[in-house]
């Protein structure tokens, strides 16, 4: 039982991280139909911003967190200005290719700006583990889970209960109809990009103490986030969250109870099974039809 709870906690932590990434990744798909493969680098920049503000400049961690999110929002805004808006209306493969190219350039830029060596970021609560009953926990992991519940819950409420959230959803479902209803579609899309980038900044900052900060750290995360997006339902925000949790939990439980050697195989085999039963994912959205 002790092992099960310990593995469950680690799986839930990783699942929440994947859910964050999948959520940010899905926001741009849902709002503008853009598959942003540079999202991995947005997360990476979030981590490096955190290291810069907290370690190099010595700012308090909460301030560094805010500044990292702001830095990533600025990146998201620049992206919409120079990448996404000029590519609007083109075939979606065009924007996919563009974002892959930019991702590679951003990865090289990280090495130029911060050097080739791995870096790390301290946590809010130090590096000691605490004992909760029979299991040993890093307080930082609990922070990740708590923030995931708060932010994902808050985002769900904002999207379904506020005027701006409903306008964002309307833009995602039918931009033409939204425009005819007087909704500023361009502004809504900019909001989605900035929101997505802000989540990348938060994700990057939160994973930095658990992951070592390297120029390739975002890629592996985005692969899992992408898998979560597919299993949850393409373009579905709710699906991204559940997909992320599912991938994290399957990975951890598979490694603990079947084989660590075939951990990835087990996780992806489960995903294939889910897709065979529900080809459009667990929570398919109507938005998926337009892609």
């Amino acid at each position: 039982m002790e092992t099960f709870l310990q593995v469950l906690l680690s799986g839930a932590t990783m699942g929440c991280i994947y859910a964050f990434v999948a959520l940010g990744f899905t926001l741009t798909i849902a709002a503008a139909g853009v598959v942003n493969f540079a999202y991995s680098e947005w997360v990476t920049f979030g981590s490096y911003f955190g290291v810069t503000f907290a370690v190099i400049l010595g700012w308090p961690l909460w301030l560094a967190l805010g500044a990292s999110i702001a830095g990533c929002i600025a990146i998201g805004w620049l992206f919409q200005l120079f990448v996404f808006t000029p590519l609007e209306g083109r075939h979606f493969l065009t924007s996919v290719s563009a974002t892959i190219g930019i991702a590679l350039a951003m990865q090289a830029l990280v090495t130029l700006l911060w050097g080739p060596y791995p870096l790390t970021l301290p946590t809010f609560f130090g590096s000691s583990a605490v004992q909760i009953g029979t299991i040993s926990v890093f307080p930082h992991n609990l922070l990740i889970i708590a923030l995931a519940v708060l932010i994902i819950g808050g985002l769900q409420l904002a999207l379904t209960r506020t005027s701006i959230g409903l306008r964002l959803q309307a833009t995602a479902q039918d931009p033409m109809a939204a425009r005819l209803m007087g909704i500023p579609v361009r502004r809504m899309r900019t909001l989605a990009y900035c929101l997505s980038a802000g989540i990348a900044g938060l994700s990057g900052f939160l994973v930095a103490p658990l992951f070592v900060v390297t120029n390739t750290m975002g890629f592996g995360l985005m692969l899992k986030g992408f898998a979560a997006t597919i299993v949850g339902g393409w373009g579905s925000l709710k699906g991204a969250v559940y997909g992320g949790l599912l991938v994290g939990l399957i990975e951890a439980l598979g490694a603990a109870y079947i084989s660590s050697e075939y951990k990835e195989l087990i996780a992806f085999a489960m995903i294939i099974v889910v897709l065979l039963v529900r080809p459009r994912g667990l929570f398919p959205e109507r938005i998926a039809e337009k892609l």
Partner: protein, 371 residues
């Protein structure tokens, strides 16, 4: 008349520059300066730069200066093959190649066909001359056929461990460590208590470490890359695993040591080919390295430094023809350098030394020299 004077001066200047360029000896280098391996390979570039500086400060080789030209692998296999071919086009006298074993194996055809003396820090046993290695490929490193075995013997003999576990990355490097550890244990009539693996990109090793904890091991050998070691150390502490831990080389590089938070890795061990900074004979070199690159020297930088020095000596002795350089290098036996002691004579496989360091107060101290 004035115009003629200016043109003549320009022609003379161009001629001088051209003569200068011709007088330089091109030394090629193929490493990852971008991508996942950029951090791990940066010390190699530093070591080579320092060596080129030292050779040139003494007047170069036969009066000609060494000129370093670097091509980036992009930390990818195809990139490594392309970079090797690009550097060949610049007619280098020799090539300081990447340390990534898989990349070197994929370049073997070009290395053999072109015959250019090539130095590598790749540790895989596969590039030994009695396996897939070729005569003009020189290892400036101790082979992985020796290092994991030394770690295993250290665990069994020095640490008196009866139950030894293995946690290894799921790639060729990790597989090599696993089989070498199993071989060393078999020689002592033992078997691993447990073998667990993980993917290089994994950042949660809780399931594996819990299984290792349940296997009740006295010592755990961890093979992987720097980020893997940092995660493993953190989670070993979190889960209260009390075994003695021995990490593979990248776990105790100076740039990895500074990533362990709150003294988490104190008391852990790691394998190294050598500890240049801890050796009084090489302290001046290590200090100079630190002053130049603002980071502590590690064995890999020292070994690439040694590679250039051995090359310079070979050129001075035998000339610049590739076959002559190879012949001169293949005559070396027990050549002591800053980072290792090298033998290439009689199908020698390069470096021979293995040391075990212990992390104390965030720094690595020599714990044992292992045979």
């Amino acid at each position: 008349m004035k115009l003629l004077t200016v043109l003549s001066a320009a022609a003379l200047a161009l001629g001088a520059v051209s003569a200068q360029a011709q007088s330089d000896i091109t030394l090629g280098m193929v490493v990852g300066t971008t991508g996942a391996f950029a951090g791990g390979e940066a010390p190699l570039v530093n070591g080579v730069k320092l060596a080129v500086e030292d050779v040139n400060a003494k007047g170069g080789v036969g009066g000609r200066k060494l000129k370093l030209v670097i091509e980036d692998t992009g930390s990818e296999q195809t990139g490594a093959v392309n970079a090797y071919n690009r550097i060949l086009a610049q007619k280098p006298v020799a090539i300081m190649d990447t340390t990534v074993s898989g990349f070197v194996l994929s370049q073997l055809g070009a290395i053999e066909d072109e015959g250019v003396p090539t130095f590598t820090g790749a540790a895989t046993a596969q590039i030994a001359l009695d396996k897939k290695g070729v005569a003009n490929l020189f290892r400036v490193r101790t082979s992985d056929s020796l290092v994991p075995g030394a770690a295993t013997r250290f665990a069994a003999r020095n640490l008196q461990a009866k139950r030894i576990g293995v946690l290894r990355v799921n790639n060729e490097y990790g597989a090599g460590w696993r089989s070498a550890i199993e071989g060393a244990l078999a020689e002592m009539g033992m078997k691993p208590a447990i073998v667990e693996s993980y993917e290089g990109a994994d950042r949660d090793l809780t399931p594996q470490l819990l299984r290792i904890k349940e296997a009740n091991v006295d010592a755990l050998i961890v093979a992987g890359d720097p980020p893997n070691h940092v995660v493993a150390v953190q989670q070993i502490r979190q889960l209260g695993l009390n075994a003695k831990v021995i990490m593979s080389n990248s776990g105790v590089l100076p740039t990895t040591l500074r990533l362990y938070q709150g003294g988490a890795a104190d008391g852990f061990y790691g394998t190294v080919d050598s500890l240049p900074a801890a050796n009084p004979a090489h302290k001046a070199w290590a200090d100079r390295y630190k002053a130049a690159f603002n980071v502590d020297a590690d064995y890999s930088a020292a070994e690439y430094y040694d590679g250039v020095m051995m090359l310079a000596d070979a050129i001075a002795k035998a000339g610049e023809k590739p076959a002559d350089i190879v012949k001169a290098l293949r005559a070396l036996k027990d050549r002591a350098g800053v980072g290792n002691t090298y033998t290439y004579a009689d199908k020698g496989d390069g470096g021979q030394t293995v040391a075990i360091g212990e992390i104390k107060g965030g720094r690595l101290e020599l714990a044992a020299q292992v045979k």
